[in-house]
């Protein structure tokens, strides 16, 4: 049975790109452009992995979502790939290397994400 991946990003073009790549590899794909819909999908479906935009709706909702998920025993085991367009260059003071300990996602990937790299990470996490 194919695995299900939830893609959470407020950019519909990014979502479309991810969906194509994932379906190419026979994953079932769920998509959400906001956190409320992401939670609904999580509660209704079995999700094997989440690709999450950290700056969704520009309010760092992605962070809060990831933290809540990891604190919830129903979902804490689901691996999260956090996609971030923000880094020290843009003066957002979050450095995965330093601050990652308080946000236990499985992988940070800086946007734009190479499709081959993304698929390699996903295969590794879902082994």
């Amino acid at each position: 049975m194919s695995k299900t991946i939830l893609v959470v990003d407020d950019d519909v073009d990014v979502i479309e790109s991810r969906k194509i790549i994932l379906e190419h590899d026979n994953y079932q794909v769920l998509t959400a452009t906001n956190i409320d819909v992401a939670w609904e999908l999580l509660e209704k479906h079995h999700v094997d992995l989440i690709i999450l935009d950290v700056m969704i709706n520009k309010d760092s909702d992605g962070f809060n979502f990831a933290q809540k998920m990891k604190a919830d025993s129903r979902y804490s085991a689901i691996p999260i790939i956090l996609a971030t367009a923000v880094n020290q260059r843009t003066k957002f003071k979050f450095d995965p290397g330093v601050d990652g300990d308080f946000l236990p996602v499985e992988k940070f990937m800086e946007k734009p994400i190479d499709p081959d790299d993304l698929m390699m990470v996903i295969r590794g996490l879902l082994k």
């Binding site: 407020d10 073009d13 790109s17 194509i20 003071k93």
Partner: protein, 240 residues
């Protein structure tokens, strides 16, 4: 686990601008990478993705134009002015955006011909930009079955012309309303992909109106709509 994450936003305008430019650029890279790496075989699907990337790129070009216009406005001598019939400019803007409004189920009431001369002295391109920007926002933040109405109010003794653009859209949040004219600010409900707007829009509108010795005011109620009021000096014509 720490309760407060360390994500701190630097409010420097250039930082915000850089982020606003990077977002559509990453989307373009993602769309094209999918095709380049062979994840799409269907030619029609490839064309669709290229069209989406192109649309985002055009948005970026608009962003750059906004930035350049913003800097141009700071030099008043660079802005050429002429006598213009305001109702013609507004009608042109309404005609430009009527197809888009129609596709989104929003009606734009035709401008009633004012019964008085509504001549202003200004820059045609910039004034069209003002109305394009306001009408575009009125469409973007409207709803199916919504309406936009533009009216020109006759001048009183002060020889000023008032233009009111009223929509029945989703309205502007109070916090967003306070910042609406600030550079690089966009409201919470602004979606990333509708256009490439960098958040210069209303700031640019205000700059243009100020440069035409006018004023702009925005009133809004959430879920009811927004009213933009512009006041511009009325000009009698070349022999004034």
């Amino acid at each position: 686990m720490r309760k407060n994450h360390v994500l701190v936003k630097d409010q420097h305008p250039l930082t915000i601008m850089a982020h606003d430019i990077k977002a559509p650029l990453t989307a373009i890279v993602d769309l094209l990478a999918v095709i380049e790496k062979g994840y799409v075989q269907d030619i029609e699907k490839s064309k669709e993705l290229v069209a989406r990337a192109r649309k985002r790129a055009i948005g970026l070009v608009q962003m750059v134009d906004d930035i350049l216009d913003y800097t141009l406005l700071s030099d008043k001598n660079s802005v050429k002015k002429e006598y213009l019939v305001l109702s013609e400019i507004i009608t042109e803007s309404i005609n430009t955006f009527s197809p888009l409004a129609s596709r989104r189920g929003v009606s734009i009431s035709p401008l009633e011909k004012p019964g008085f001369p509504c001549m202003v002295y200004g820059n045609r391109t910039f004034l069209i930009r003002v109305f394009n920007n306001i009408i575009m926002n009125a469409i973007k933040y409207n709803r199916e079955g919504g309406n936009i109405a533009v009216s020109i109010i006759p001048p009183g003794d002060e020889k000023k012309i008032k233009i009111i653009i009223k929509d029945t859209g989703i309205g502007i949040d109070e916090d967003d309303l306070k910042r609406v004219f600030q550079i690089f600010q966009r409201g919470k409900k602004a979606r990333k992909n509708i256009d490439g707007s960098i958040g210069l829009g209303m700031s640019l509108v205000k700059q243009i109106i100020s440069g035409h010795e006018g004023t702009i005011d925005i009133q809004s109620t959430l879920n009811k709509g927004t009213t933009v009021t512009l006041i511009l000096p009325l000009k009698g014509g070349k022999n004034e």
